[in-house]
């Protein structure tokens, strides 16, 4: 009779000793979390503290002057906008189309679907500098050169340009858009598809009039996330179109352009006068951060609404 009681007591004794270890473990994990929060606060605090004085209307609306030790960042803002707009215009049809195909048409176990999913997953893991190499090797050197050759032009397309940088970024962001659009399509109940088909609508009519309107927040989320990422990525555009400094704004897709992220890199590492550049550097970083945060926040809000709809359904 006594044996089971002892068996029950023995582990209890051990718990006492391991309790110290236990609170240490949960304490350390709490510290790790605290460290992350603190680092985020320090980074943001530092940048906003040193940056907010610089960011004035003049700073946002003027060009760099005096070897980029004075003036503003308007060309970089303009270039960034042009870049991401061009990127989104190319990216969205392909990304959304791919997601619709994967979610609505393809059989999930067919080899084609598997190959596409495998490729998209791995595309998301390709280092951004490799995208830069690819953009230079494929778009600029191969496609651009051949276009010049075919059209009998000198060098118009076969050099770094806005359009090549945008296309490189579009490929880089393709997985993001596919994933978010698919997520959105999955929140549309199957009954809606059946109801629409039951009324005699074709597949495309169902997609066009039932699925796409419902999936709109998801598509927007993907677009916004890709813009946020596109605005900050530097490695893929360094060799495909971004310029240190340009005295004019890009007016054609074959022009080079200035970009905020690249401008941060240039100011931080190539400045002839570090002290004079520092306020401009902080100001540029702050503008870039505010831009990406605003975009990310919008994406988070949209996505949480979408998730709430999904949760409400099940």
């Amino acid at each position: 009779m006594s044996a089971p009681i002892f068996a029950a007591i023995a582990p209890l004794r051990r718990v006492r000793r391991t309790d110290v270890l236990g609170s240490l473990f949960s304490g350390v994990s709490g510290l790790a979390a605290l460290f992350v929060v603190l680092m985020v606060l320090v980074i943001m605090g530092n940048i906003f503290y040193f940056g907010w004085r610089t960011v004035t209307w003049e700073f946002l609306s003027q060009s760099p002057r005096a070897g980029m030790t004075a003036g503003g960042i308007f060309p970089a803002i303009f270039g960034t906008a042009a870049l991401v707009i061009l990127m989104v215009v190319v990216l969205i049809p392909f990304g959304v189309g791919a997601a619709i195909y994967l979610n609505e048409y393809a059989r999930p176990d067919s080899w084609f679907t598997r190959v596409v999913r495998f490729s998209v997953n791995n595309l998301a893991g390709v280092p951004s500098i490799v995208y830069g190499l690819f953009g230079l090797g494929f778009f600029v050197q191969f496609l651009g050169r051949h276009m010049d050759h075919a059209m009998g032009l000198d060098v118009v397309w076969g050099q770094p340009a806005l359009v090549w940088a945008a296309l490189t970024l579009a490929l880089l962001n393709l997985p993001t858009v596919i994933v978010t659009t698919e997520e959105a399509l999955r929140t549309v109940p199957g009954e809606m598809r059946e109801a629409s088909m039951g009324l005699g609508a074709t597949r495309w009519q169902t997609i066009r009039h039932v699925l796409l309107p419902q999936a709109m927040p998801g598509i927007l989320t993907g677009a916004i996330l890709s813009v946020a990422r596109g605005a900050g990525e530097v490695a893929p555009i360094m060799f495909t179109g971004a310029a240190y400094f340009l005295p004019y704004l890009p007016t054609s897709p074959t022009d080079q352009f200035m970009e905020l992220g690249y401008h941060v890199f240039v100011l931080a590492t190539q400045s002839p006068d570090v002290d004079a550049t520092r306020p401009l550097l902080y100001g540029t970083v702050m503008v870039l951060l505010l831009l990406t945060f605003a975009l990310n926040l919008a994406a988070i809000v949209l996505r949480s609404r979408l998730r709430a709809r999904l949760a409400g359904r099940t």
Partner: protein, 316 residues
């Protein structure tokens, strides 16, 4: 015959030839857009490898930069009368920075994920998750800037290192960049562990940390491994942070307080000034191919771990 969708073969009434043709065209277009993902990956492979090919097959290039030359010299001096393409300093530099980054990022990422999913009161969790999302949203060039301007001085003050920019500084900044990756994947995996596991463990008298340590973590183990691997792949390929924070001196040294030049940073720093088609150009593409293959393999393994986690939890 028992077909799951008896209506699938029927055509909606009143659909004309024109409409049927339109449907077919649209299906084709959607299929093409799905194929762009495959085409993109293939094109990246083809064009990065093609750029690197002269290193392997072109005798002209190989005189300066063949596989043998990569390890014949301990120097990376691609610009000069006699260019030297020794890969050893770049490989050791990459290894050093990545190891430092993982030493910081793995404990911080995994432990804070455990904290968020197992211990944190809801209020704290609501503070932690946005912090991680903010960190994930910070562009890498901004983290590089922060490492260059701010943390470099901290690191030098604490360690008394000679060079302000060094592998420790770059590794730390890189860790900030990959913590969100590790955290997100780990936390997803931990939260996917069924509640009943935890309840059973607690009901048997285990404390919360015992449950976390010996039940939840092992159950989510494959997901944690996947998170670490995805973080590793990111660390190996990440460019801007390292380019700005590591000092970029191509040294062979094991000390984290020495400057380091990584594969990715070499590409970023040198590609702009290189003559297209020159040996140097091919060597940089070769470095890119090396990065592509390395990260590809790591990512495939991470995918396998995620698949395993999915099957395991489905079986449960």
């Amino acid at each position: 015959m028992n077909r799951p969708f008896p209506h699938a073969g029927l055509r909606p009434r009143g659909v004309g030839v024109g409409q049927r043709r339109r449907e077919a065209i649209i299906t084709f277009l959607l299929r093409v857009s799905a194929f762009t993902g495959v085409a993109g990956l293939l094109l990246i492979m083809v064009f990065v490898f093609m750029g690197a090919l002269p290193v392997l097959v072109d005798p002209e290039t190989q005189k300066e930069a063949g596989l043998a030359a990569f390890f014949a010299t301990p120097l990376w001096q691609p610009v000069g009368d006699i260019p030297k393409y020794g890969l050893t300093p770049l490989l050791t530099g990459t290894l050093k920075v990545v190891i430092v980054a993982m030493l910081f990022a793995v404990p911080i990422g995994v432990l804070s994920a455990v904290f968020a999913s197992e211990f944190a009161p809801p209020r704290l969790r609501e503070l932690l998750k946005p912090a991680i999302e903010i960190l994930a949203g910070i562009p890498s060039v901004v983290l590089g800037f922060f490492a260059l301007i701010v943390t470099a001085s901290w690191v030098q003050a604490v360690t008394g290192s000679v060079s302000r920019l060094n592998a420790l500084n770059a590794g730390f900044a890189l860790a900030l960049g990959i913590v969100p990756v590790i955290f997100t994947v780990c936390e997803d995996a931990l939260r996917a562990v069924p509640r009943s596991y935890r309840e059973a463990s607690l009901a048997l008298g285990a404390s919360r940390w015992q449950t976390a340590w010996s039940v939840t973590l092992p159950a989510a183990g494959a997901g944690v491994a996947a998170g670490i691997l995805l973080g590793l792949a990111r660390a190996v390929g990440e460019t801007m942070i390292v380019l700005m924070a590591s000092g970029n001196a191509a040294l062979i040294s094991a000390s984290p307080l020495d400057s380091a030049r990584t594969l990715s940073a070499s590409i970023a720093a040198e590609l702009a000034e290189v003559v297209v088609g020159s040996p140097h150009y091919s060597v940089l593409f070769f470095l890119g191919a090396l990065l592509f293959v390395t990260t590809f393999i790591i990512n495939v393994f991470a995918g396998l771990f995620i698949e395993r986690l999915r099957q395991r939890l489905r079986g449960a």
